[in-house]
Symmetry: C2
Subunit: 404 residues, 2 copies
């Protein structure tokens, strides 16, 4: 039921970054559920992670290791290795050790990632048994299968790839992401991996991954649930072009734009493939007094089950939108200054139904698959945009049956 | 699909408080949708109202009038008269004026209440045309039909009634409530009316309605949406016993307990009749550092669509519970101190799956209609309890089809 999400685009290989895929049989036999990534020596790896206090064992290890030289990233689906306590940390470490032993690197050079059911022991034996197949499969042109290999309830793999030229050289930024439910980012989200062959200094790369996440993964929500395993990684293999260590200059601007564009496409792909999604909804809040109140209003609208079911039903029940604006907690909000638009149709003017509005206009917008809800608060100059989905029968079915 | 909610109990009449019901045909022809209440001269009326910035026209009028002598409360369903701007205020005033004219009281002595669709003009003519029938119907023993008369998507009317004796006299506390969706109280909720024949000073009655709301209506959530029209009213007709003007003494304690018990039953009845509800869920958070963090955790659990769909599926997917605990925003929460129980079954001990836990134990609890989720945070001595429901296909159906 993905909304406007087709096959993966052309995925340009990134020099110095290889991917290998295998089937470990973690949750389902024969499914691709193990992805190994290898970065060339000298690569820089940056990342942002979930703010959930119950962050998973692999996230805890990643946080410890970031900043050191990283050579491998190993991802399994089917099991989140979250809420697994000390045994979970040991299990993640065992997987990393198996990779380290095979390639004669130190265990600290391997980052682990897991996604799937929370609270069950990680089947380390199955993963280590399948690792040799993933190792043998390592190739630079393996992005498409890797996109499949990190899927859980996703219905389609998600990828984005951009190239740009600078000083006669071609630079590549390519990435994949996964996620369809338990999506309400908080600093970083789900699993996302973006690699570039540019040569970027570690601290600058870390600043860039944070900036890109804030513009993309941190502006989407499906169900308001923040995962225990969210991770967004940015890898620079340093195979192309001069070293970049300042956030300035034309090359850095081009790279920044490319990374942000790829991150935005990957984030929006997650919303388009939201569990049970039949609509892709942009919520844009304008004329706010500050960023936070714009986001508060946008998320109140995006999380309201009443608005989400009305979107599913294609019902322009705008009363539910103003109710959500009203309870978003904006201090001293004046309802008579609020305007609301569905695409180009003004439905609420000065806090009440717009004189020009007809149900037919609203219904025509709501029939569409892609809908913009635009809210003017009449308080200031700030604006923020987030993306979300509707709430359908299918969401309930998927999540009621998830473990069966 | 109401959970454990049967027919209304015996509704003891309250001396000096009459109710009249009529059909105004606001949304559906022939449905009881208009309720008039008359309090004896000298009655005290207190209330708490929604915190929604888009609070409805009748709520705005009620807030202005509270504290003055009140003789009538007039409630319509089928139309919320919310987000209706200045015309909405005029419409509510017209309804009050019609009541005032008939009984030769001032318009300020009439409180208006509305519930139903947001943003449509109130059909004043239909209401005033039906008022004479409601007036002719005024009787002290009319609580049951009044309970029906304030229903919207409720499947059953909701009532509670308690009597207690003091100094040879019998005191009565009787109330009704409505609400099934758009339920996330914020200071007060939905429509609730509780009357007593005791004689209570105005300021004390206002303190009591606030206390009762905080223990009952402000501890429930169905979908996290705060209505524009929430109102909870407490009326003391002063027909029985001595005047009470201090929050002390045996009579006040008995009255307080009776009012809180009735409010609690009415609030829980709303949850039991939650839209599409198949479970009645108590979320109890213990060992918190303060009230707010207990409530933050409780509401994170109660609002998680993933937990709600797992409850619907009777799936003991406790990983979703710890994930919600983790993102509730409790500062410096230590996951290894967290324990979680389903009824008496310990599912999480020290942040991981309890060694004694089996899926069969969890599944056995989840099969029940009434479930207690108890969470120990290991941080302090505070505890808080709230009540909620699951998220079912039926919730989506009801709210997708609400206006059709």
């Amino acid at each position: 039921m993905a909304v406007g999400l087709g096959a993966m685009p052309v995925m340009h290989p990134v020099k110095g970054f290889e991917l290998g895929i295998a089937s470990a049989g973690i949750k389902k036999v024969g499914r691709r559920d193990l992805v190994l990534m290898r970065c060339a020596e000298g690569s820089q790896v940056a990342g942002v992670f979930t703010q959930n206090a119950f962050c998973a064992a692999p996230v805890q290890l990643c946080k410890q290791r970031l900043g050191q030289p990283v050579r491998f990233l190993v991802t399994n689906t089917g099991n989140a290795n979250a809420a697994t306590g000390q045994p979970g940390l040991v299990a993640a470490q065992q997987v990393c050790q198996a990779v380290a032993d095979s390639f004669q690197v130190s265990v600290e050079q391997v980052l682990p990632f897991s996604t799937g059911v929370i609270g069950e022991p990680l089947p380390v034996d199955k993963i280590t048994a399948a690792l040799p197949a993933a190792m043998a499969d390592l190739r630079e042109d393996n992005w498409n299968l890797a996109g499949e290999g990190i899927m859980t309830t996703d219905t389609l793999p998600k990828g984005a790839s951009v190239q740009f030229a600078h000083d006669g050289e071609t630079f590549t930024v390519t990435g994949i992401s996964k996620g369809a439910g338990m999506i309400r980012p908080n600093m970083a989200t789900m699993l996302g991996y973006v690699a570039t062959d540019a040569c970027v200094a570690g601290p600058l790369l870390q600043a860039l991954v944070k900036e890109a996440a804030d513009l993309s993964f941190n502006r989407i929500t499906i169900d308001g649930d923040t995962s225990t395993n969210d991770s967004f990684m940015l890898i620079a293999t340093g195979q192309t072009g001069p070293a970049i260590d300042q956030a300035e200059g034309e090359l850095y601007q081009k790279l920044r734009d490319a990374v942000c564009a790829v991150a935005m496409q990957l984030a929006q792909a997650i919303v388009r493939d939201g569990e049970g999604a039949t609509k892709f909804v942009t919520v844009q809040v304008e004329q706010g007094g500050n960023v936070q109140e714009c986001l508060d209003v946008a998320y109140a609208v995006a999380h309201s089950p009443l608005i989400k079911t009305a979107l599913f039903a294609s019902d322009p029940n705008w009363g539910r939108i103003v109710a959500a604006v009203g309870y978003a907690g904006v201090p001293a909000l004046e309802q008579e200054k609020v305007n609301v638009f569905l695409n180009d149709v003004c439905i609420v003017r000065d806090g009440g139904r717009a004189a020009s509005y007809t149900e037919e206009q609203g219904a025509a917008v709501m029939q569409q698959e892609e809908i913009l809800i635009r809210i003017e608060l009449g308080r200031g100059e700030c604006s923020e945009t987030i993306w979300t989905t509707d709430l359908s029968h299918e969401y309930v079915r998927i999540n009621a049956e998830y473990r069966t």
